[in-house]
């Protein structure tokens, strides 16, 4: 199955989960889709039949509120049955609102922001000490970059020269209250990471081919960790929420749910022609 079709299916799963009783983090999951598809279906050396293989590549979703995007991707990748997604956030399910280790394929839990990069540093350092060539990827939110702990970890990664570490920022430009730049400004974002000693690359975060190409080149520059700033659209795929802060968390009613699925179906048909 081609990557584009995976992205379509994952978007449908996300919409379905947001139509459940608890709703879900819609916008920041929809913006993530191509990043996760590129990683799980083209870049990461992982095997759902051997999820604990010591040589596997590692991925942490530091923006844990993208959980439904991650769950949908892991299910599509074969880590657990797609049917299980229907139980999201319901009693008895292991699919919690933020990623938990009980879900096959989830390396470490997340939810509180600003934790993932330091964890990835540790994973990358551990691999280096053991002489493994595994790569460590961590996906961050852009609002998350307001956490000071991210910059502690950014300094450490560059200082240690963790060149098998790749951080991807889902730069959808929005946080709960509105644009990141109107809360605590992040720009000049690329310049900041470069100044911290990272190899910085920018990409259209919905361009699957470009993402696959970029994310597979590790290291982008020898001796440096790589920062990929993926420019995305919050709520991508649903015109009635795209680029709107209120898409951050949504519980879709029946009408909205059907409308969303119809919009996605139309996009799939267009892509096929």
């Amino acid at each position: 199955m081609e990557l584009l079709e995976r992205a379509h299916r994952i978007r449908e799963h996300i919409v379905d989960m947001c139509a459940g009783e608890e709703g879900g983090h819609l916008g920041g999951s929809m913006s993530l889709v191509e990043i996760l598809v590129a990683l799980y279906f083209a870049v990461l050396r992982v095997d759902p039949r051997a999820p604990d293989d010591p040589g596997r590549d590692l991925l942490l979703l530091s923006k844990g509120h993208g959980a439904i995007g991650l769950y949908a991707t892991l299910a599509e990748r074969g880590f657990f049955p797609v049917e299980e997604l229907a139980g999201y956030a319901t009693p008895g399910s292991r699919l919690m609102g933020h990623p938990v280790r009980a879900v096959p394929g989830v390396e470490l839990p997340s939810g509180s922001l600003g934790h993932g990069l330091a964890l990835a540093n540790g994973l990358a350092l551990g691999a280096r000490l053991d002489g493994l060539d595994r790569r460590c990827y961590v996906v961050l939110g852009d609002g998350e970059l307001q956490e000071g702990s991210v910059w502690e970890a950014a300094m450490a990664a560059a200082s240690l020269g963790l060149e098998r570490l790749v951080a991807v920022v889902d730069r959808n430009g929005l946080q709960i209250t509105g644009p990141t730049e109107r809360a605590i400004a992040l720009e000049p974002l690329a310049g900041r990471w470069a100044a911290f000693g990272w190899a910085v690359r920018e990409v259209d975060g919905h361009d699957l081919a470009a993402l696959v190409d970029l994310l597979g080149r590790v290291p982008a520059e020898p001796g440096r960790p790589t920062m990929v700033i993926a420019h995305t659209v919050k709520g991508k795929g649903l015109p009635f929420v795209e680029g709107r802060p209120h898409s951050h968390y949504a519980r879709l009613g029946e009408r909205q749910h059907q409308r969303a699925l119809a919009v996605l179906a139309a996009q799939r048909r267009r892509a096929a022609t």
Partner: protein
């Protein structure tokens, strides 16, 4: 009853930890040492550690987060930082990334209690035991001397989960050579006695407890002493057995009176062996007195004198209140 001079056999727990860790690292490639500019390893021969000793600078969130990542990658990271930074500054990392994941990170927390002395409340850790004791999966150990710190490191080497090891800063005297061996998770009985029980943890409180027991013995009062070095998991059976029959209990610790050893003992005994408990510890205030650790311990009445006074009061009076002398005007000083 402060001890001004430190005899030659006095040794700091943190130095004992450092020396043993380097020795263990030489033969075990799983062991890593993450430092945070503490200076503890300055001058030490780091060659046994090789590239597994890393100084991560002054950044405790990254420090604990990286330790969790290393542990998830199969390493056994030993983290050096001050107790207050590990348990308050970086508490969320300790909770979420280390305790929640139940990863084998070992936190060597120096400057526990009032060990930072004149450096003041920013460097004191008087809440660390309350905080760590509350976290699931964490093992919490407060060694009473340098040898015990080393033994705690040895006995937790293969511990599958995380460890909080509270170390001091300054040299402290060794426990009696006759003391029974340290066993992780088991109360260490340092004195026998049938009239009451004194429970302590940490070098100075344990010393105060044994000194108080000896003073009481000379007065004809038998005071058992339990060194409750492992605060989590707590040896509730030993506590309940010691207090059986309503024997009164005095606790003494270098920690605020709420949430630490005294609280753990009171909670346990309320459920398993109800009796009267007097808790001696730091009063509910920040240190506002300038001085070294031992001066502060005396100033805030965390010493053998207070233990003796509370023991005698519990044995003679029905007054249910207890604790530091100055907080209870009815209890005369000794």
């Amino acid at each position: 009853m402060s001890r001004a001079a430190h005899p030659a056999q006095d040794r700091s727990a943190r130095e004992a930890y450092r020396d043993l860790l380097l020795e263990l690292m030489a033969g075990d490639p799983r062991l890593c040492c993450l430092d945070s500019d503490t200076g503890l390893f300055n001058g030490a021969d780091l060659s046994p550690a090789g590239d597994r000793y890393v100084n991560l600078g002054i950044a405790e969130h990254n420090l604990l987060g990286m330790a969790a990542g290393l542990a998830a990658a199969g390493k056994l990271p030993y983290v050096n930082t001050m107790a207050t930074f590990a348990t308050t500054r970086a508490l969320e990392v300790l909770k979420v990334d280390i305790a929640y994941n139940n990863l084998p990170v070992r936190i060597a927390a120096t400057h526990g209690g009032l060990a930072a002395g004149h450096l003041g409340p920013t460097h004191h850790a008087l809440e660390d035991l309350a905080v760590t004791r509350a976290l699931p999966n964490l093992t919490v150990v407060v060694p009473a001397d340098a040898a015990q710190a080393a033994e705690a490191v040895r006995q937790t080497l293969e511990l599958p989960g995380p460890l909080y090891l509270r170390l001091g800063r300054n040299p402290t005297p060794p426990l009696d050579a006759a003391a029974p061996p340290f066993r992780l998770g088991a109360a260490q009985r340092l004195r026998d006695g049938d009239d009451l029980v004194i429970v302590a943890c940490g070098p100075h409180p344990v010393l105060a407890a044994t000194q108080a027991s000896d003073t009481l013995a000379a007065m004809g009062v038998g005071a058992a002493v339990l060194n409750l070095h492992t605060l989590k998991p707590l040896d509730t059976a030993a506590l309940a057995a010691a207090a059986a029959g309503g024997r009164p209990v005095v606790t003494v610790e270098e920690h605020w009176r709420s949430g630490g050893l005294g609280s753990a003992v009171a909670e346990t005994l309320a459920e398993l062996a109800p009796t009267r408990v007097a808790r001696i510890g730091m009063p509910d205030r920040f240190v506002d007195e300038v001085g070294g650790q031992e001066h502060l311990l005396d100033h805030y009445e965390i010493n053998d004198v207070t233990v003796v006074a509370n023991a005698l009061r519990l044995l003679s009076e029905p007054d249910p209140s207890g604790g530091n002398l100055s907080e209870h005007a009815a209890v005369p000083g000794v």
